[in-house]
Amino acid sequence: MFLELFFQYLVAGLTYGTIYAVVGIGFNIIYNTTGIINFAQGEFVMLGGMTAVSLHAFLPLPLAIAGAVLVTMAVGGLIEMLFIRWLVKPSVLRMIIITIGVSILIREGALHLWGEGIRSLPYFTGNEVSAIEIGGVRVSPQVLWALGVAAIVVLLLNVFFHYTMLGREMRACASNRDAAALCGIPTRNMVTLSFVVSAGIGALAGCVVSPITQTQYGIGAGLAIKGFTVAILGGLGNSMAAVGAGFILGILESFSIWVMPTAYKDAISITILLAMLFARPSGLFGNSEAARLKEF
């Protein structure tokens, strides 16, 4: 019984960990090309889920999800072009405030468009009660979907960043913007692209977990903090480490329910974030020497 419960919590932790990891990766992609922490990252997840639910009213599920991802990517690109592209060497404080403002606008827009109701996509395969037994533990097929999609996203991102011209150009832009510009890389377009990619994977994550965690207009802010925690845990800018950190946070949170009231679950991750920021801002897997050289 005890062991069964343990695995059940573990699976729940992995599910939430997946979405935190994807949000964390989104933070990292934008941070790498721009040095900006995009406070509207969680809103992309919400936007993806909400749009997919709306599109699913008249489109089959795969098309609805694809449509939602495309719409969110467009929104991501638009945000960059409208609010960030034309600023000349903005200060960090200015960027923080602008992205916070953007997140408020998206959230309020969603509130007016979709209302306060909680929505969700149907389960991709089976329904709420269907479960697959793996060694005595009952796992919802949707959890496997979430894990699978996250794995594919990470894999594709890796391929994109290492083996395609565009991905390499983005990495060049991340490591040295001026040098990249001198090599003829359109750095501004790379920044836009980073917002588009980051919005796209956020939206995809929002669709995949929507059946399990539900989607509401206000979920973005909480996810942003979790995602940022994950990005910091893994070391800011390190996308692969964010996956590991996402699972760690998801599992810790999940087990915290065992010993503490559920309501304090959010406080746990933030406490971890604060502790991490104070003790080791370079992240669990990061290099503290390298982190010291970065401009925060």
Binding site: I37, L93, I97, I104, G109, L274
Partner: protein, 356 residues
Amino acid sequence: MFQRFRHITALAAAIAAVQLLTAATGKEFFLTQLTMAGYYTLVIIGLCLLMGYAGQISLGHAGFFAIGGYTSAVLTTVDLSAWKAAPAISLLAKSGILTGRADLYGGQILTVHPWAAFLCALCITIVVAFLIGVPVLKLKGHYLAMATLGFGTIIYSVVLATSRFGAADGISSVPAFPLLPGLAVTGGSSQRVANYYFAWLLVTVGMLLLINLIHSRVGRALRSIHGAEDAAGAMGVDAARYKLNTFILSAVYAAVAGVFLTHYNGGIGPSEASIMKSVRYVAIVAVGGMGSLWGTLIMSAVLNFLSLRGYFGTFDDAVFGSILIAVMLFSPEGVLKLDIRSLVGRWIRTDRKAGA
């Protein structure tokens, strides 16, 4: 030197003029929102010192407001009469720290006196601000923003999860706060004018203190920290200490406002601790011009009044979001310093550059 006092005198005159105007036009009910706007302004000028002068962002100031408000609300509503016999309680009751009063249903209850609760709230705020400030203020930029946002979120989720704090309903039936015989901080319409003046008196005094502070050695030190922290350190400015003290001072401003607004409204709810409130405070400081106490004061009075009167309707948060973006995009120095001509000039120049 004298200009400072001219400004303060102008503020006092404006406060009186607004009251007379509402009386003359028969819109006395505006005073309720103006009073509330006054308390919010107190939070915001405190935050202005931290953001505009010391250059440290805080996305958790609603947390300090809530600590003040909730401490006072809990202490002045919790009924201790069941423990009347306990020596500690009876000692406190005799010394006047505890006070008996009739509750909503006429029953006699024993609660902490509002003044004692007020001092308690201040002490708790100072301790919390100190404990949070020491580690947090070592961080910069994004990390500082996220850490303070995290602090605000913790306060919000603790308030929301604790039944002692009324969870989602908040705490109601908070008693009036006695100031002088015949004068109390309460929402009753008989005390409306007096309360309006008291709230804005607090703002005026708070403003006077801040203005004196920024024109002193401390103010110059803070601005040097804002400009270049390392250089300030090299000149012998103890940056960490100055930042911490400023953080605590601005937290105290927020807590004082929280205590009095809670007594004025007769209650407090978790929305006062929400992230959106913190963001709103930051937005108003930004609109007022990061380093301009007077700009912030004016913007805070205007925007808070409009918002509290409900002129923004369901777009309340969206309005503040848009304001935040617009100010940061077009005029990071604040609306009052908006220079249209140079802005247009800059647009034309960047266009040319793009075209070339």
